[in-house]
Amino acid sequence: MKKTIICRCEDVTEEDVLQAIDEGFEDIEELRKRLRLGMGPCQGRTCIPLVIRILAKKTGKNVEDIPLPTSRPPIVPVTLEALASDEDEE
């Protein structure tokens, strides 16, 4: 049987997530730091709705009580060359 991928960007499987929850990583922020889940180029757009469902099912928490991880810029891939642009007024 093939793997069930939760985070495509960082290749995190459902098994990885379930195991990390067993180890005590019980919110998305912690799971993110443990597994790099949601830290790839899509910044969690694909995996976070899945992780919320897994967490709710496994821990018995209400979906409403599972906080989202902090969102930071840039939310899409931007080249360093562009980000390093000089200050200038138009």
Binding site: M1, K2, K3, T4, I5, I6, R8, C9, E10, D11, E14, G40, P41, C42, Q43, G44, R45, T46, C47, P49, L50, I52, R53, I54, V63, E64, I66, L68, S71, R72, P73, P74, I75, V76, P77, V78, T79, E81, A82, L83, A84, S85, D86, E87, D88, E89, E90
Partner: protein, 482 residues
Amino acid sequence: MRIKKHPILEFDREKKLRFYINGKELYGYEGETISAALFANGVTTFSRSLKYNHPRGFFCGIGKCSSCLMTVNGIPNTRTCITPLKDGVEVKTQDAYADLPETKHKRHKKKVINTDLLVIGGGPAGLSAALEAAKHGVNVLLVDENPILGGQLIKQTHKFFGSREEKAGTRGVEIAQQLRKEVEKQENIRVFLKSTVFGYYECEQNHCFGMVKRREDYTEEIYELHCKSVIFACGAMENMLAFPGNDLPGVYGAGGVQTLMNVYGVKPGRRVLMVGSGNVGLIVSYQLLQADVDVAYIVEGLPKIGGYHVHAAKVRRCGVPILTSHTIVEAYGNERVEGARIAKVGKNWSIIPGTEMDVKCDTICLAVGLTPSIRLLSQTGAEIRFIREAGGHVALHNKNMETTVPGVYVAGDGSGIEEASTAMLEGKIAGFSAAYKIKNKAFDSKPLKLYHEELERLRDGPFGVKGRKAKEKIAVQWSDKR
């Protein structure tokens, strides 16, 4: 894999372009994205995954999921589903980590733009918001990631329901054209396409954002945007489903497939398994048939069909079986989907033993709901709550679509999943409210009342139940806060 004859659409294939994939010469047409041109040539693997070396390809088709990253003219991590094809472009598949480009760092200048109102997203909500605000004399900057304005309307070949004011009976593609023309006529709307607002930054007097614009040669330039008010009309992202083999090329978002077929005239495959019988699943199944693609089954986990009866009846008449209380168990295949196993589900979504069935297909479309896009919005500090009926986390907002951060508005699917007709009205309300505030209440607020009444009428209809409930919950939580 290009669609030759279509009952509704015509595809403009006037200018043939040559391009390269890993050095091999291929042809595409002007107006296609790199992803679409690759698909048309039968290329479905775009990269290899980080740890497991899995083949990866297309998924959402609108620049949100980043499954389609490739190296384009030496620039790695380019989202090929929203990047236009150019003559002579060299595309390379990425092997886990992309190679760093060899070009020397060039010094660029950051550009600064000041505007009254920034509208992020050029779909039905964003276009309506920009038009409404511009009509009231406000300067608008409208930004969208895609090469064309119109959001998801540009792929909707079906006619709309709802009210005449919100263009019922008109096809989505035609509504997009109408709105685009109106925007072009407004001198005080400045449009940035192929541009992404990527971050919110603290700023003393107004709201400040970073934006990246992708040039014709695929390089990027940075803008610093300052605005008095901002409307987030960022739409939604298609939901993924957890099952073995769910990352194989061939597993695509139903909306992504709709983009591929109806915008670029490219078939996703030959035989499709559709997962989900909501309106998206039903409508896309019908459109697949129109594009001469087989639909093996539509499977629905719930005991009842999710979408409208008219749509379900239409696909059933064409001979597509809809299996309720059925789910996908796994997808299999080496380099792409070669088939799937489906099974009947009992209570608590458990699979009933002995009901498993093999389905030969090369494409699996996921039509299992949408999640509002709020990642950028949440950076403003607007209060976010999980509202099930809204499709996930959304910003709390008042009747005038303003969030808990003054001057930050939301509209459309990004504020709770509904439909294009409600999105257009919410856009008008947000655009009006933002303009009213910027201009310091210098004009009559009667139109706003009419928009509210119209929106209520739409939500009172049989198709507005979920949306109404979501917005009621948002209103309750909003007033609890005050």
